[in-house]
C-alpha cells in the first residue's frame, strides 16, 4: 500500500523518493555498490558498539534508567551544541538545494505545488544534514528493542524531529537572507552565516581561554544559579525535552515531535512564495547590474611592472580568489579558529609553544586551499595552454599566487613575536614559508582537474592530494615544534614533511610531461 503511494506520480512521497535518491547519490563519488557496502559495514560496527553499551549497562537498564538532573542538563547542553553544528550544515545545504541545483526550473514549470517542492526539498536537506546522527543513533533503537527496552524506539521520531527542526530553521534563515539580499547574494551570505554558526560552537568551547578570570567566575555563578529548580536551565526545563524525547519519555517526545512538525509546516507555508521568487531570480541570467559603461569612457589597463604578464596573471588569480565566497568563508574560519590560540600565546602560557606549530599547519592548509583553486580549479586551462608562455612559468606564478597572501598575513605576527620570543618568531619565519611552498607543490606537481564549485568536496574528489597536503602540513608543524622543544626529533619530522611533495612529484610526472596544467 505504502509502496503504491510512493510510486504514484506527483504525490509528496513520490517527490521525496527522488529527493532522497539525489541526496544518496550526492554522498560520495564511489560506485553505488561500494557506497552501500561501506555504509552497511559502518552501520554494523555501530550496532555492535550499541550492543556492547547495552550489555555493559544491562543491570542499570533492568532497574529502569533515570538520568540525574546534572546528567540531563549536560546532555541537553550537548544536544543543543550538536544542533548548532547541524544547523550550520543545514544552512550550507539549503541554499544549494533551493537555488543552485539545476533541476529547479524543471520542477517549477511542472504542475507540482511549489509548497510541496519546498517541503520535500527541505526534508531532503534536513535528512542529509542529519544523516550522521541518524546512522549513529538508530542502532541504539534496534539494539534496545532486542534487549527488551522498546522505549528506545523513540529515537526514530526524535531524530527525525531533530532533522525537521534543523530544516525548518535552516529554510527560514535561507529565505530571510533571500528576502534581504536576493538569491545570488544570499548564497554567499548563507555560506558565511553557516560557517559562523559552526565556528561559534568552537569559540564557545574556547571561551574560558579568551575571557578574563573575573568574567569567567561571574558566568560560572550565573550558570549555577540558572541550573537550580527555578532557573532557566533547571533540569525540568523544556529546553532539555529533546533529550528526554530521545530517552523515550512520552510527553517530551510528543511535544518535541509536534513542535518540530508544526514549525516545519509553518515555515513552509510562510516562505514558499519567497522560495519561488528566489528560484526565479537565481535562474535568470541577470547578475547584479552595474551602471552601463559610458560610451565615451576610456579603457585603462595596468602599465609598467603592474602590466607585466606575471603581474596580470597574479592579479587574475587573486581576483578569482577574492570573488569566491567559499574560500573567503574558509579563510575567515581558519583565522577564527586561531583566535583562542593567539589569546593563549599572548598571555605567555606554557601551551604557547603549540601556537607556532599550529600557525605553520594553518598556513599550509590555507595555502593548500588557494593552490587547489589556482591550479586544480583553473577554469580555462585551454586558454593558458594556447598562450605563448611555458607551463613551468605558469606553475610558478600560480604557486606564488597561492603562497603569497597567507605569508603576508603572517608577517606582522612574526614581527610582533620577535619582541616576545625571538626563537619562536624565527622558527615561524623559517618553517611557515616551507610549509606553504610544500602545500602548493602537492597540487602543482600532481595536476588534476577539478571544478571550483566543488571546493567543499575536494577531499573526496582528490583524496590523494588532500592527504599529501595534510601530511605535509603536519610534518612541517611537527618540525616547528621540534625546532622549539626537541630538535633531535627533526630527523623524523622533516622526512614526513618532504615525503608529500616528493610523492606528488613522482605521481604527477607523466601528466606534467604531457603538458597537463590541471
Amino acid at each position: 500500500m505504502i509502496a503504491k503511494y510512493f510510486s504514484h506520480p506527483g504525490t509528496l512521497p513520490w517527490l521525496l523518493k527522488y529527493e532522497l535518491l539525489f541526496a544518496w547519490r550526492n554522498l560520495g563519488s564511489k560506485s553505488p555498490r561500494t557506497h552501500v557496502a561501506i555504509v552497511l559495514f559502518a552501520w554494523l560496527v555501530v550496532h555492535l558498539i550499541a550492543a556492547a553499551i547495552f550489555f555493559g549497562a544491562s543491570a542499570a537498564l533492568e532497574r529502569g534508567v533515570t538520568l540525574s538532573p546534572k546528567t540531563i542538563i549536560y546532555t541537553g547542553i550537548g544536544f543543543w551544541v550538536f544542533f548548532t553544528l547541524l544547523l550550520s550544515q543545514t544552512l550550507a545545504l539549503a541554499i544549494n538545494a533551493f537555488f543552485a541545483r539545476g533541476d529547479m526550473d524543471l520542477l517549477l514549470t511542472s504542475p507540482l505545488n511549489p509548497k510541496h517542492i519546498l517541503i520535500v526539498r527541505g526534508l531532503g536537506v534536513g535528512l542529509t544534514a542529519s544523516l550522521f546522527p541518524i546512522l549513529l543513533l538508530l542502532p541504539f533503537a534496534h539494539v534496545g528493542l532486542l534487549a527488551g527496552q522498546p522505549k528506545f524506539l523513540s529515537i526514530y521520531p526524535a531524530v527525525i524531529s531533530m532533522a525537521l527542526l534543523a530544516a525548518a530553521i535552516g529554510i527560514w534563515l535561507t529565505m530571510t537572507l533571500v528576502k534581504l539580499l536576493g538569491a545570488r547574494r544570499a548564497k554567499t551570505a548563507a555560506q558565511v552565516l553557516g560557517a559562523l554558526i559552526g565556528a561559534s560552537v568552537f569559540l564557545g568551547f574556547q571561551l574560558q581561554n579568551i575571557i578574563p578570570k573575573s568574567t569567567r567566575e561571574a558566568l560560572s555563578t550565573w550558570f549555577n544559579q540558572q541550573m537550580l529548580t527555578t532557573g532557566l536551565l533547571a533540569p525540568d526545563s523544556a529546553l532539555w525535552w529533546p533529550v528526554r524525547a530521545f530517552m523515550g519519555e512520552l510527553v517530551p517526545l510528543f511535544a518535541f515531535v509536534t513542535f518540530a512538525a508544526v514549525l516545519y509546516w509553518l515555515v513552509a507555508t510562510l516562505t514558499y512564495r519567497r522560495f519561488v521568487i528566489g528560484a526565479q531570480d537565481s535562474s535568470s541570467s541577470g547578475v547584479i547590474k552595474k551602471q552601463p559603461l559610458d560610451a565615451n569612457a576610456k579603457v585603462n589597463f595596468s602599465r609598467g611592472v603592474l602590466g607585466s604578464m606575471t603581474a596580470i596573471m597574479l592579479k587574475k588569480e587573486w581576483r578569482l580568489i577574492l570573488r569566491d565566497p567559499q574560500i573567503i568563508t574558509q579563510t575567515l574560519l581558519q583565522l577564527l579558529y586561531l583566535l583562542p590560540l593567539l589569546f593563549i600565546g599572548l598571555r605567555g602560557s606554557q601551551s604557547a609553544t603549540l601556537l607556532i606549530p599550529s600557525l605553520v599547519v594553518l598556513t599550509a592548509m590555507l595555502v593548500g586551499n588557494l593552490a587547489w583553486l589556482t591550479v586544480a580549479a583553473e577554469d580555462v586551462p585551454d586558454l593558458i595552454g594556447t598562450a605563448p608562455i611555458t607551463l613551468n612559468r605558469v606553475r610558478i606564478i600560480k604557486a606564488a599566487a597561492a603562497v603569497t597572501p597567507p605569508l603576508l598575513l603572517l608577517i606582522p605576527l612574526i614581527i610582533f613575536w620577535l619582541g616576545k620570543n625571538p626563537l619562536q618568531a624565527l622558527v615561524l619565519g623559517l618553517i611557515a614559508p616551507l610549509s606553504a611552498l610544500s602545500s602548493a607543490l602537492c597540487y602543482i606537481l600532481n595536476p588534476k582537474k577539478a571544478n571550483r564549485r566543488e571546493m567543499a568536496k575536494r577531499g573526496k574528489a582528490d583524496w590523494l592530494s588532500s592527504l599529501l597536503e595534510m601530511m605535509s602540513a603536519m610534518g612541517w608543524g611537527a618540525s616547528a615544534y621540534c625546532l622549539i622543544e626537541a630538535p633531535f626529533f627533526l630527523i623524523l619530522a622533516i622526512p614526513v614533511a618532504l615525503a608529500a611533495p616528493l610523492y606528488a612529484y613522482s605521481a604527477g610526472y607523466a601528466a606534467r610531461r604531457d603538458g597537463v596544467l590541471a
Binding site: S285, N300, D324, T386, P388
Partner: protein, 262 residues
Amino acid sequence: MSTTNIPALKITNLVKNFQSNTAVDQLNLLIPQGEFHALLGPNGAGKTTTLRIVAGLVKADLGQVDVFGHDVAADPIAAKRIMAYLPDDPLLYGKLTALEYLEFVAGLWSIESAIAAKRAEDLLKWLDLWSKANELTEGYSRGMRQKLALAGALIHEPKMMILDEPLTGLDAHAARDVKDMLTDYVKRGNTIVLTTHILEIAERLAARISIIQKGKIVAVGTLDELRATAGQTGATLEDVFLNLTAEGANTAAPKLSDTAQL
C-alpha cells in the same frame, strides 16, 4: 622562400591514439595564408583532436604540425604567439568582467597595455558588448560569451584562428555578427581553420573544405572540387558530405602533394 609562400598550416602524417582508439590517422593537410578553411566530419572523426594538436593543447604521437613555419612541438611559443584557439565552449572566467578578461588575455600574449586597452575598447564596441564591459561574464548570455571569447582571441591580432564550432548555440543576430567578423578577418589577409556541423556556414564562408573521417582527410578542395570528387555535379554540400562520409566510402588518405594543390 618568401614568408607569404609559407603555408599558414601544414600538417604532415599526424597520428594520435587514445589507448586503443586511433583519433587521428596519418592526417595530412596544407592551408595557405589568407584562406578560410572548413574542416568537416561526422562526430568522432578526429576534428577536435586535430585542432587541439594544432593549438598545442594535445601532443601528437607521430607527425608534424607547422604554423607559419614554426613547428608546434619544437617551438610552441613561437607558434602560439601568432594563433588563437576558440572552442565551442567559450574560454571565459565567470568571475572576471569583460575588461578584466581582455586585460588578462592580452597579458598572456604580452601585448603592451596601452595597445591592449585601445584594442579592447574597439573590440567591445564593435561586438556590442561595451555597455556590459564592467559586468562579470557569469551573467552573460551564450551569444555574449561567445562574442567576448572572440574578442579575447582577436586582442593579440593572431595571423591564424582555429575555431571549433564557433556558432554553436548562437541566435541569428549573434551568429550574423560572428560570421561578419570572421569574413572581415580573412579579408585582412588572415587565416581561419574552422570546424562546424552547420554545413551552410562552410558552404557560404569557406574557400576550401576538408572532409575528415576516421582520423583521415578523405577529400579536400573547393565545393566544386568536392562535387567532382563525389561525382555529384550541382549537388549541395550536404549531399556531397553525406556521400563522402558514408560507410564504405574511400577513406584512403590523400597524399600531401594532392592537398598542396592550392
